[in-house]
Amino acid sequence: MLRFLREGLRRPLTEPRPPVDPAFAALAANLNETVQRRLGHSLAIRQVDAGSCNGCELEIHALNNAFYDIERFGIHFVASPRHADVLLVTGPVTHNMQQALERTWRATPDPKWVVAVGDCGADGGVFAASSAVVGGVAAVIPVDLVISGCPPSPTRLLTGLLSLFKD
């Protein structure tokens, strides 16, 4: 039994680093270089669901599986905004989550980045017209990078997050 399980993980499941996406590179060019240098090649991420359908959460979860293994790049998820360099926010931001998102943002020490995830995080997506929704993440807190998609695949999430690093 144990042998079977060890064998199971010994196979090289982890896939190579995804290639640079010029679209993300262009977005990342606007990042503050001083902040990029200071945060370096290690990022602590606090994920905040500001009202998503949970599709984005499923794919963010997948970043931790053996295929994507996000921690090998120095990116890891933390339990408190006070430990975080990056807020990874899914949306749309609902009225009911607006205050919690603002408070989470204030609790995150500077320098920090906000990455909006998903079509809803970008602009509210299919929920944009609702009176219960404020809008995309940028309607509430300043956003540094948008990773669109419904939901974005783990590869796309990984490509987007890696574009935060300065080579």
């Binding site: 039994m1 009202g51 998503s52 599709g55 339990a79 905004p81 009911n96 989550m97 205050q99 929704v133």
Partner: protein, 486 residues
């Protein structure tokens, strides 16, 4: 004596409501139904507002194939509360009050539910006693989880009360459905709860088809079931791993995550989307399955069957892990019955109910599978139900592929009007979709996820357990926040 038929016969039958009956009733019949719910003769499927009326969907407790809808006009803005006598209706009625302004007369709880305008002043229930302390958690949680607030009151390590505050993910789904084209509405239904994208879009499509009285092609029906079973397997794998991980047994989690990824990749290859969103639409499915991807799915089925059996065996042989799950978070069968708890939550506590069989829908009426049931009602039982269901779903996929007919995958949606109610089995339980279609547009659509009746039960099962076991209990329920908050 069939109570439900009696209630429906007392009212005026509504035309063009399929496939179950809906009747306009007087207050007396409505209150009689409430009494029958409280007596356990009927099970509440949902209660929702619509213009100047409220509807209540009921399931006969004796004959679980029989469903009916009662409608009460409330032009004055109030109606006799169901929740006052039958607790499963309380949160639904609080939601109706927030969204429609109807006052349920006789409901003791005056607090809002989905409407959070009072902000942090929400009055939690008072708890009195010596040495009690409170632990507030959320809405922003420590993991990659949806938003919600849990207020624990503890005596030392022991939880004496959990009170949930939900609604943070409230996105106004009901209002967005109103006036939406069928195409827009299908996209929206898919995003009510991302983990049940297939099941809810299937429920929506089936409701449109029932309302407009037409059937999708046979091949589409089979492909839909294939997607639904892939979704069920992927979610159960994720849950099984996550529950074990909450007891710090991460090797099972690592393997389950690999298996889940394999299933999602097979889904992506076959249907062009990992979560299979927007693949099921009224009239059929948007993507056909080719021979190569069919073979890939067969391969994944074989791998999951072999590896998952080994993982279940490892769980079964690890006493330290079971020490955390056995006799933890027990849901009593009586509560599961009262709340009509769906999915693994109900089936681990003796409630034999699966929408694929009760009332059942194509193609499951021509497929053979069991509904696994246990009675212990603890975290362990909810795990074993998932294990049994993964096995069933793997066999179902093989049967579905084996009998796959050739032909069209889409039928033109007729421009007509009508109403319908469907029950569809998502991985976490039955999803109810009720809608009224008017010439290609949605007039009103109500989606009730299984979570509505499971969340309150989570409050009940944690009582008397230690705080450290809450993640296990919570994950073993895995209720949807988005699917509940709408």
């Amino acid at each position: 004596m069939n109570y439900l038929l009696g209630l429906l016969d007392e009212g005026w039958g509504v035309q063009l409501h399929r496939p179950v009956r809906r009747a306009l009733v007087h207050e007396g019949t409505w209150m009689h139904a409430t009494a029958l719910l409280a007596a356990g003769e009927l099970t509440l499927l949902s209660i929702w507002g619509d213009g100047s009326q409220v509807h209540m969907a009921l399931l006969d407790a004796e004959d679980q194939h029989r469903i009916g809808v009662l409608t009460l006009q409330c032009p004055e803005g109030y109606y006799p509360s169901v929740g006052g006598a039958h607790p499963p209706a309380i949160r639904l009625e609080r939601a109706i009050r927030d969204l429609f302004g109807f006052e349920p007369i006789g409901l003791q709880d005056p607090r809002s539910w989905l409407d959070h305008r009072e902000g942090t002043d929400y009055p939690f229930l008072p708890v009195e006693g010596e040495g009690l302390h409170q632990i507030p958690v959320g809405p922003v949680h420590a993991g990659i989880i949806e938003p919600g607030h849990f207020r624990f009151t503890c005596d030392g390590e022991t939880v004496v009360r959990l009170e949930q505050r939900l609604g943070y993910a409230h996105k106004g789904v009901d209002e967005l459905f109103v006036g939406a084209s069928l195409e827009q509405a299908a996209r929206l239904a898919c995003r009510v709860s991302g983990d049940s994208a297939v099941a809810i879009s299937l429920g929506f499509a089936r409701a449109v088809e029932a309302a407009l009285d037409f059937t999708p092609p046979r091949r589409a029906v089979r492909l839909r079931a294939l997607m639904a079973e892939l979704e069920r397997i992927a979610n159960h794998l994720g849950d099984f791993g996550a529950i074990c991980n909450d007891a710090s047994f991460s090797i099972i989690q690592a393997h389950c995550a690999v298996l889940r990824e394999r299933v999602l990749r097979a889904a992506d290859g076959a249907f062009g989307h990992r979560l299979m969103m927007d693949r099921i639409v009224p009239g059929g499915v948007t993507v056909d399955l080719d021979a190569q991807n069919m073979a890939a799915i067969v391969g994944v089925v074989a791998e999951v069957r072999e590896t998952f059996a080994a993982l279940a065996k490892l769980y079964d042989e690890t006493a330290s892990l079971q020490d955390r799950t056995v006799a933890t978070g027990i849901l009593k069968p009586e509560l599961a019955r009262q709340f009509g708890a769906g999915g693994y939550v109900g089936r681990a506590s003796g409630r034999v109910f699966d929408a694929r069989k009760h009332p059942g829908y194509a193609p499951y009426d021509s497929l053979t599978f069991d509904v696994p049931v246990l009675t212990q009602g603890d975290v362990n039982a909810r795990l074993w139900i998932r294990v049994a269901e993964v096995k069933q779903s793997l066999s179902l996929i093989e049967d579905i592929l084996h009998g796959m007919p050739y032909g069209e995958i889409m039928t033109q949606v007729p421009i007509r009007s009508g109403e319908a109610l469907t029950l569809t089995e998502a991985f976490r339980g039955d999803v109810l979709v009720w809608l009224r279609v008017n010439e290609g547009f949605v007039d009103r659509c109500h989606v009730r996820d299984a979570s509505w009746f499971q969340w309150p039960l989570l409050e009940a099962v944690i009582e008397g357990n230690i705080v450290a076991d809450f993640p296990l209990c919570n994950k073993s329920f895995n209720c949807s926040y988005s699917g509940h908050d709408l």
